[in-house]
């Protein structure tokens, strides 16, 4: 799994590439925690290039989501598809996670 950060305005987009599984999901969690330490307040996690997620990956997203919420900052998860979407649906977290279809929609949501 590879993580890349880019910035647009005050939003930080994390592009996740690869599989979010039991061996590497912690990396995303660690990255977000480091970014929070550096006072980043607006996160977009882009899962466009993620075709596989397991319970550890879902767990990492739950942890990230609840930590950002508790601090009063903003998070949107975008571009979920295929089996990633299915796993989130099976876990019934579609209503829990802040999900938008695209990065453009996520940026608009951030402005609300």
């Amino acid at each position: 799994m590879e993580l890349k950060i880019r910035k647009t305005g005050t939003n930080y987009i994390i592009d996740v590439n690869g599989e979010m599984d039991l061996y590497n999901s912690y990396k995303l969690k660690e990255l977000v925690m480091k970014m929070l330490e550096k006072k980043v307040e607006r996160f977009i996690i882009n899962l466009e290039n993620v075709d596989y997620i397991d319970s550890s990956g879902i767990g990492a997203l739950i942890y990230i989501c609840s930590t950002i919420k508790k601090q009063g900052y903003k998070l949107v998860i975008t571009n979920i598809h295929g089996s990633v979407k299915k796993v989130i649906e099976l876990t019934k977290l579609m209503g829990y996670f802040p999900i938008m279809n695209s990065i453009e929609e996520a940026i608009l949501r951030m402005e609300e």
């Binding site: 599984d21 039991l22 596989y52 767990g59 099976l90 019934k92 977290l93 209503g95």
Partner: protein, 193 residues
């Protein structure tokens, strides 16, 4: 979510213990056993999934669901002790995936607690109470660590639509996924009996 979804509370949403379930019938099933090596969980899973026929769509999802059960056996059952084996019986065709996964551990002691936790989770979902749901997104026990999502069995119970049943010792779980059959005008045999 468009509207309140009451299907969360319909049907059987519990993990059952029933050693006499037909899902534990192993006749004609393929078999593999693995050491409890955490690093190789996905590899072991692939060795099993590779015998699934091409007609099964969403093979990634099948792989993921099997991987979760093998992970539970390796980590929570056998505590990653390499000498302890995970035994897997499996059988796939276009209409179903059937597996039995057994470890050498003490069994899933927290099963009742899990069912109660899941019942509350489903109540929050039915009420669309996403604030309250935050307390029920991850099932933790004394042995949970940071890498445990605590959500695998929520999805398992949904995914294995033909049953998800433990044996009396609770160290083996049998599961069945039924795939919809298209272009067939006949009723398929109910394998769960």
């Amino acid at each position: 979510m468009d509207s309140a979804d009451t299907t969360y509370l319909s049907g059987i949403h519990e993990i059952r213990v029933d050693e006499n379930s037909p899902l534990f019938e192993k006749t004609n099933m393929l078999f593999k056993e693995f050491p409890s090596d955490y690093r190789q969980i996905r590899y072991f899973t692939l060795l099993i999934v590779q015998s699934a026929p091409l007609e099964i769509k969403e093979i990634n999802l099948l792989e993921q669901q099997i991987s979760e059960i093998i992970k539970n056996a390796v980590k929570h059952g056998n505590k990653c002790v390499p000498e302890k084996k995970v035994r897997v019986w499996y059988e796939f065709d276009a209409s179903h995936a059937h597996l039995i996964v057994q470890d050498e551990g003490e069994g899933f002691k927290d099963l009742e607690t899990w069912n109660e936790f899941n019942r509350r989770r489903l109540e929050k979902l039915a009420a669309q109470d996403f604030e309250g749901l935050a307390d029920y997104v991850s099932f933790r026990t004394e042995s949970s660590d940071d890498n445990d999502g605590g959500n695998a069995l929520f999805a398992a119970l949904e995914y294995w639509n033909g049953g998800f049943v433990y044996n009396t010792r609770r160290n083996a779980v049998a599961m069945l996924k039924k795939y919809p059959q298209r272009h067939l005008g006949v009723t398929l045999e109910d394998r769960t009996g």
